[in-house]
């Protein structure tokens, strides 16, 4: 069966949803402000005769109708990086600031990591972790190509992440962009739909709970944890958030994203979720002509040591 059909009850226009999922995605690049401002990139595209279209909700994104950005000067100089539009959303939600201590738990191949580094003005400490050594080499390649110097790359299981290599014991912010069943990327890679199984959804949701839990534990009270996936499956989204709301000192916070989104859901398959789940964002392909996505923002509310209180205590 096509796994997308199980989500039809969640969308406003079933036909538009399925039709959008069936269309290939345009090639999109993000400009890398560590190397060049969007205006300079635009001038270089013009000089080089490269067709591009701006993305109306983000001045650093360009759609390239002619496809792959791999063979032009702006790419060679690390001014641009191929990155799907929705993939920039968790970085926007995280809103990392120069000088902060930031964790990216599942960082490879580094599109979101390098976006966060640029938001930090390449200052502060950005710990980019991944458990897959092969994918880490792609991350290192991308980080160096884009001129990132504030990234520390670690190869750990994020569920047991150790801060021993660092002279601090908590992060200001963490991005938890977990491995998932990836139906939202079907416009790029339709194979994800053929390989989909419910067993895999449940197994991977268990891993996500562990990774998100550890990220909350290593973030300071008042700090921000952003959770994101590219799946529509509530088992991997709202159910994972429900788990940490019940077990860790954190709360879902309200935040805006610059495109059309739908609220997280409070009911699925006989299960009820916390009403605050509506503060999360679901992104469906037919609303903005993008991939599918899920993004939530949490605030850590109490010291990680006691683990008891879930209300009140906030910023330092």
């Amino acid at each position: 069966m096509n796994p997308l059909e199980r989500y039809l009850p969640l969308v406003d226009d079933e036909d538009a949803f399925l039709a959008a999922c069936d269309r290939p995605l345009p090639s999109v690049v993000r400009t890398n402000p560590i190397a060049a401002a969007p205006e300079r990139v635009r001038r270089a595209f013009d000089e080089e005769g490269i067709d591009y279209e701006p993305v109306d909700w983000h001045d650093g994104l360009f759609r390239l109708p002619a496809g792959s950005p791999g063979t032009n000067w702006p790419y060679v100089h690390g001014w641009i990086h191929g990155q799907e539009e929705v993939s920039t959303l968790p970085g926007l939600a995280l809103d990392a600031q120069p000088g902060e201590r930031v964790l990216d738990t599942c960082a490879a191949p580094g599109s979101k990591t390098t976006q966060i580094a640029a938001d930090m003005d390449d200052r502060g400490t950005l710990v980019a972790n991944d458990n897959n050594l092969g994918r880490l080499s792609a991350l290192r390649h991308n980080a160096e190509r884009l001129g990132v110097t504030n990234v520390a790359v670690t190869n750990q299981d994020a569920r047991n992440l150790s801060l021993r290599p660092f002279p601090f014991d908590a992060f200001d912010r963490a991005l938890v962009d977990v491995p998932c069943s990836c139906e939202g990327t079907c416009r790029k890679n339709p194979d994800v739909l053929d390989e989909w199984t419910l067993d895999h959804v449940h197994a991977i949701a268990g891993v996500s709970k562990g990774i998100l839990t550890r990220a909350i534990q290593t973030t300071r009270p008042g700090g921000v944890v952003v959770f994101s996936t590219c799946t529509f499956a509530p088992e991997e989204n709202e159910a994972v958030l429900q788990h940490v709301l019940e077990s860790e000192p954190c709360e879902l916070t309200t935040f805006d994203l610059p495109l059309r989104t739908e609220p997280g859901i409070t009911e699925w398959d006989g299960e009820t979720f916390n009403d605050a789940m509506k503060r999360a964002h679901r992104i469906y392909p037919h609303h903005n002509d993008t991939g599918g996505f899920f993004c939530a923002k949490l605030r850590v509310t109490a010291a990680q040591q006691d683990g008891s209180g879930t209300d009140g205590v906030t910023a330092r």
Binding site: I34, A35, R40, V41, R43, A44, E47, E48, G49, G70, T71, N72, W73, P74, Y75, V76, H77, G78, R101, D122, R123, G124, T125, L126, L133, L136, R140, H141, A143, E144, R145, G147, V148, T149, N150, V151, A152, V153, T154, N155, R164, P165, F166, P167, F168
Partner: protein, 190 residues
């Protein structure tokens, strides 16, 4: 400076501390602080970029320099323990422990815009050949031999491309294999 309790002695059994290829060690400030023989100092690194390319010390001042792998100096702008055993800290920056120090392509790409000397400016056809990894004669260069920054003009400003080795009237591209690109060929340039 080793405070992790590991044995700092050499593989050959001698007592002097040596470079450990599996971890990052911060460079000593000056020769007087040097414990590991042959390790470059922070002062030498800053002086080298200033002497060779005219890059002002203030540009590199905020950064930490580390050695991992003999002679391989990394540049990092964050916090980490010293020593530190992780996959990467910042980017590979400079090859030392050899007669002529060699900057990495990425170092030149990131910091080369601050250079005021030993920068060879290439025309569009030359730039395309250079980034494809080709060697080529550049007869007009009358500056230093050795490692130069190759640059070209793009959207109104000079932009560094990578490291070239200039010898006997020839500029040898040192763009690593994985980064070579057939960029100019799209425009029908040779």
């Amino acid at each position: 400076m080793s405070d992790d309790g590991s044995d700092p002695s050499n593989d050959d059994g001698s007592d002097s501390p040596s470079n450990d290829g599996q971890r990052f060690d911060r460079l000593p400030e000056t020769a007087a602080d040097r414990a590991v023989p042959g390790r470059p100092t922070r002062e030498e690194v800053l002086a080298w970029w200033e002497d060779r390319f005219g890059i002002d010390r203030s540009v590199l001042e905020p950064y930490t320099f580390l050695e991992k792998g003999a002679g391989k100096v990394w540049i990092y702008r964050g916090e980490a323990t010293d020593p530190c055993r992780i996959e990467a800290l910042g980017m590979a920056f400079l090859r030392t422990r050899q007669e002529h120090w060699k900057p990495t392509t990425r170092a030149v790409s990131r910091f080369g815009r601050h250079a005021t000397r030993n920068v060879v400016e290439l025309d569009p056809a030359e730039a395309a050949r250079f980034v494809a990894g080709e060697d080529q004669p550049i007869d007009r260069w009358d500056g230093d031999w050795g490692y130069l920054i190759a640059a070209h003009e793009l959207s109104g400003d000079r932009e560094p491309i990578g490291v070239g080795l200039y010898l006997h009237g020839e500029l040898r591209s040192r763009v690593p294999k994985g980064s070579r690109t057939d960029v100019g060929r799209l425009d029908g340039e040779e």
